[in-house]
């Protein structure tokens, strides 16, 4: 069977030429670089033009003019803007994102702790919701207007319209407090929380490598509810937009020809319509991913998990400019990478654009 499939693809399917792949990759990298430059300029402008005065924040408003001037000089605030931008880039290149004014810790170190947690949670939630969303959309499009279709539309509407913090609290009350099926707040049970090392910051990976089977099980139990919650939050938009794309594509003439060839509805959906919806599908999934990365604040708060969203929110409350900028930069880079990869995939998958 695999032999036959392999032969089929070598006979009938043309893979993109290496030169084409290289061209697409090169243009993608170029556009990524340009967007990154824009992002750096914006984050720098945010810090330079923000009404918060870091020097004043550091020395307090009773300090003498001399101390204040010294602090300004130490923080590189007295140089002209272009020079400050160059210094900013220079510091970034050396991995120096500044020191948090709230905690006195280097921002990079703090981000290293919180970003993997967010990344882990949103990636798992995304994989789950993308698979479930596309599956539901396929069922909907296979029997449009049927009861399956209505049930799926209601599920997806509920998922995206019920407030996530409320759903989170209800889920905790039922599945943790009442039935004890899932783990409670935090990433691990207390017994493991301070006993295992977190070199990667990904709790599933680190608890697996800790050698304690209980730690891994605990991590999974604690991840269950937040992952399901986040997944249900984006599931609706993925399912609805994919369903619309699939149904729109079903009116194309090539679908009629496929039916005239003797293909059934399920075959047509899987072999013709789904591949032709790859563009809109990848786009909505990428959008869901960016939503998850920045929008996990409420979930992280309700479940008392560390994460980028919560870190950024706290930094905003304290007016902690270096932390805000660091978190924004990480989020921005993640967005650029996600969008760039999506663009590249869409182009690679479409023979007309290769």
């Amino acid at each position: 069977m695999t032999m036959a499939t392999q032969r089929l693809s070598t006979l009938f399917f043309r893979h993109a030429a290496p030169a084409t792949l290289l061209r697409i990759a090169a243009t993608s990298v170029l556009s990524l670089a340009l967007t990154l430059a824009g992002l750096l300029a914006v984050t720098f402008a945010m810090s330079a033009l923000s009404p918060i005065d870091p020097a004043l924040q550091q020395v307090g408003d009773h300090a003498s003019a001399a101390t204040y001037a010294q602090a300004r000089h130490a923080l590189d605030l007295d140089a002209p803007l272009p020079e400050r931008f160059v210094h900013y880039l220079d510091r970034l290149c050396h991995g120096d994102l500044g020191v948090s004014t709230a905690t006195g810790q280097p921002v990079l170190g703090e981000l290293r702790e919180v970003f993997p947690a967010t990344f882990e949670l949103s990636t798992i939630a995304l994989l789950l919701s993308a698979m479930a969303g596309v599956g539901l959309a396929l069922l909907s499009a296979r029997w449009p207007g049927s009861w399956i279709d209505s049930v799926i539309r209601i599920i997806s509407l509920l998922g995206s319209s019920v407030p996530i913090f409320w759903l989170g609290l209800v889920a905790l009350a039922l599945f943790y407090a009442h039935w004890h099926w899932a783990g409670g707040p935090g990433r691990l049970d207390d017994a493991y929380e301070y006993t295992i090392d977190m070199p990667s910051g990904l709790v599933l990976v680190d608890s697996w490598h800790s050698g304690m089977p209980g730690a891994f099980a605990s991590a999974v139990k604690h991840m269950l509810l937040p992952v399901l919650l986040l997944a249900s939050y984006v599931l609706g938009s993925i399912a609805r937009l994919t369903r619309t794309a699939l149904l729109g594509e079903l009116h194309q003439e090539y679908v009629t020809l496929a039916r005239a060839k003797g293909a059934g509805s399920s075959w047509i959906l899987l072999h013709h319509v789904l591949p032709n919806c790859a563009g809109p599908m990848l786009t909505v999934i990428a959008l869901a991913y960016t939503n998850l990365l920045q929008g996990a604040v409420l979930t992280e708060t309700v479940f008392a998990r560390p994460g980028l969203g919560r870190y950024l929110t706290n930094a905003l409350f304290y007016g902690d400019v270096p932390a805000i900028l660091g978190a924004t930069l990480v989020l921005g880079i993640a967005f650029i990478l996600i969008n760039g990869t999506t663009d590249m995939l869409v182009r690679l998958l479409d023979p007309r654009q290769r």
């Binding site: 036959a4 032969r7 089929l8 006979l11 009938f12 399917f13 043309r14 194309q252 003439e253 090539y254 009629t256 020809l257 496929a258 039916r259 005239a260 060839k261 003797g262 293909a263 059934g264 075959w267 072999h271 013709h272 591949p275 032709n276 998958l349 479409d350 023979p351 007309r352």
Partner: protein, 280 residues
């Protein structure tokens, strides 16, 4: 015993599912024998609906009904969906108007021809490849091996139409329905593609239903012509007798055909009222 026609249709009608209005097509009866049958009429006269009804491929809000639809020794009007799937593409095949829309932009020529084969017969991949190459050769596609890996957007209109023909013919159907197969092509290609279709129909003893609004073409190629007007079959005659038709509608259609002589002159206007008066 009298010779059976390939397809014998009795009292075919196409209605909306809510059924409140008069039928969109028919009811009318016709036979399709070997050799080409032409189906002509103006836009909206029900030609394409008739063709789709013969394949049970109507849009979901429409419904076809016929007293009898005999294809060889099979009755088609009582088939269920699964049985129709076995007929479509294997015994009755369809060629559509515009290859730019009717071919899937994401699949290669080879995959699309092979798909029609794969849906109906169980064969080893290499055998299927042989059959695909053979049918591509029959429809005059050059360098078929390289062409297998081309995508539809890399083909010219004429080649696209030949690919569609290859898809239709790969299972050796007994009836080919060609729904305006040449409207998207220029004049030179038009004759080439039609000549090819006639020749293939002849060699394989395949019936051909040619839907067109190009009357001179139909007159030249078709043994029998059905003329449709507002969902009704208003006239039927031999293809070579189209210019001497007695039905006023057929006459009017024939007189409306543009040619080198009418270039620069207004075409005769055709008056529906006189036809209805005549018909009733």
């Amino acid at each position: 015993m009298a010779e059976h026609p390939l397809l014998h249709v009795q009292q075919l009608e196409v209605r909306r599912r809510d059924n409140r209005e008069a039928p969109l097509v028919g009811p009318f009866s016709f036979d399709i024998g070997s050799g080409a049958t032409g189906l002509v009429g103006e836009s909206g006269s029900g030609k394409s609906l008739t063709a789709r009804a013969l394949l049970n491929l109507l849009p979901p809000n429409l419904q076809a009904h016929s007293r009898q639809m005999r294809f060889g020794d099979r009755e088609l009007s009582t088939l269920n969906n699964r049985e129709w799937q076995a007929v479509r593409g294997a015994e009755i095949a369809l060629v559509m108007q515009d290859p730019r829309h009717a071919l899937n932009p994401r699949l290669t020529v080879g995959e699309q021809i092979d798909e029609a084969l794969r849906l109906h017969v169980r064969m080893r991949t290499t055998q299927r490849l042989d059959r695909v190459l053979q049918v591509m050769d029959e429809v005059g596609l050059p360098q078929s091996r390289q062409l297998l890996k081309h995508y539809p957007h890399q083909l010219s209109g004429g080649m696209g139409q030949r690919v569609m023909l290859a898809i239709a013919l790969v299972n050796r159907p007994r009836l080919l329905i060609a729904d305006e197969p040449t409207s998207a092509l220029d004049t030179g290609l038009r004759n080439q593609v039609l000549d090819l279709m006639m020749q293939l129909a002849d060699t394989h003893g395949m019936g051909l239903l040619l839907i067109s609004h190009n009357l001179p073409l139909v007159a030249r190629y078709c043994k029998q012509v059905l003329v449709m007007y507002r969902g009704q079959c208003v006239d039927r005659c031999a293809g070579n007798a189209l210019d001497q038709a007695t039905s006023p509608y057929t006459q009017a259609l024939w007189n409306c055909r543009p040619s080198g002589h009418t270039f620069g002159h207004p075409l005769p206007v055709f008056d529906p009222e006189s036809i209805e008066a005549n018909a009733s």
